[in-house]
Amino acid sequence: MTLIVRRLATFAIFGLVWALAVHFGNVSPNILPQITDVALATVELLGRDTFYIAVATTVRDAAIGLAIASVLGVSAGVAIGAMPALERSTRLLIDFGRSFPQIALLPIFLLILGASSQMKVTLIAIGCFFPILLQSIYGARKMNSTLQDTVRAFRLPWRMRFFRVLLPSASPFILTGFRIAVVVSILVSVAVEITSPVTGIGRELAEARDFYETDIAIAYAIYAGILGVLVNAAVDQLERRIVRWHLSDKEA
């Protein structure tokens, strides 16, 4: 059997278990609807304007938050990683920041910014900032000593050191951070939408649940999952393009 057949087969088995469980388990459709109803709901959503608005809003806010976090996280991280003294001084604060459950800031930002897109974007940016920051610090710190000597020996100006040497040298690590942050951006976005009245996939999901339209709620969850898979695939492509040299250099 080819791989694609086997992969589709696992989906089929999953669906079968679901269908049988609902059928013989006597589960209320309000709790777990039959898989066929969910399938119909996913199709039905495609005909609704609210669906497209919700997806577009979630994607837009996640992207803005991610972009803010990337700019701040990469510039701060690479600078910190390149200066050992600064890295040691900031380590405790950064460890605190990354271990902190950022969603706990939701009530505070809800109070300050209200239930708005800005509030959502702020939380997404905070959530995405730390994985990018940490990987950027790590990447800059890993720059090999010969390259550091080379950069000094040829007296490269700081701007060139940063953009032409330090940044590319750290980029494989930065991309790892970015990959984590992409998942976080969607996660935080949907979580904020579920728990506060701002537009997006999470909001639609929560409202469907409140009206006992469980099939619609699950359909939204499925689309959130598909979104995650698509975004991951896009990052894969990006990685292959940006750090081609890294993969080839490791092989050589």
Binding site: N144, T146, L147, D149, T150, R155, V165, S169, D249, E251
Partner: protein
């Protein structure tokens, strides 16, 4: 390819009573030597004697604890324009995200040379080290010997009149090492640059050098300076077969062994 006209007279380099300690550990003590314009000077010594420390002091990457290094009349306190460094770890010293040409070009752009001049100069230096036609390749597409040639071209393009080489051929196979040794002799003849090579390989030192400085002891001191009168043109087989060659290598080997 023509030798480019900008390199003609390398400035003399003087090392005046250089000592270096790391904390309470003294590594180098009172080293005094000079490198004449156009000379190849090899510094040999056993592993761990402090050769790399000395080279870092000479290049301005690290200040000596006492004494000073001068190029022409300038005291070296930081890396200088006149000095080009070539490291043993050629892989680590080239940027794998840049092509060969970009690697050579970058330091020139760093000095604000305009792009077309920098390109022309980089291409001519790559040709000088035998890499014409490889400009658009990435370092990881080249063999080790070719990567080290890129590093040499980069130092030449930077307009270094003094090449400082730290165990430059240590991680290459014998045949490639011979080719690169001959390249260094050839570049010196054509361009008039001075070359300082730090190595633990006594054969390599005698083959390349006009003079060999022997370091030994803890802390390291100069225990001998050996003039090598084999002329500017040398041959891997003929020169190494000369009685003078084996006399000199025997003398240096004995000195290093005795001191240990």
């Amino acid at each position: 390819m023509n030798a480019h006209s900008t390199v003609n007279a390398a400035p003399p380099m003087v090392v005046d009573g250089v000592s270096k300690s790391y904390g309470s550990i003294e590594v180098l003590r009172g080293l005094t030597l000079r490198v004449d314009p156009g000379e190849i000077l090899c510094i040999v010594g056993p592993s761990g004697v402090g050769k790399t420390t000395l080279l870092r002091c000479l290049s301005g990457l690290m200040p000596p604890t006492s004494g000073e290094v001068r190029v022409a009349d300038q005291v070296v306190t930081e890396p200088l324009q006149e000095i080009g460094l070539v490291f043993q770890d050629y892989r680590g010293s080239l940027m794998p995200w840049m092509t060969t040409l970009e690697n050579v070009l970058l330091p020139l752009r760093g000095k604000r040379m305009n792009l077309s001049d920098a390109r022309e100069r980089s291409l001519s230096c790559l040709a000088n080290v035998g890499l014409a036609g490889h400009e658009e390749k990435y370092p990881w597409e080249l063999s080790g010997g070719m990567q080290q040639r890129v590093a040499i071209a980069r130092a030449l393009a930077y307009d270094a009149h003094i090449l400082l080489m730290d165990e430059p051929f240590g991680s290459l196979d014998a045949q490639t090492r011979f080719d690169l040794e001959d390249l260094v002799l050839d570049l010196r003849r054509r361009l008039g640059i001075s070359v300082i090579v730090v190595t633990h390989d006594i054969d390599e030192a005698v083959y390349l050098a006009d003079r060999v400085v022997v370091l030994s002891g803890k802390p390291a001191t100069v225990i001998d300076t050996v003039a090598v009168d084999l002329g500017p043109v040398r041959d891997q087989v003929a020169s190494k077969g000369l009685a003078e060659f084996s006399r000199l290598r025997g003398r240096i080997l004995n000195e290093i062994r005795r001191k240990k």
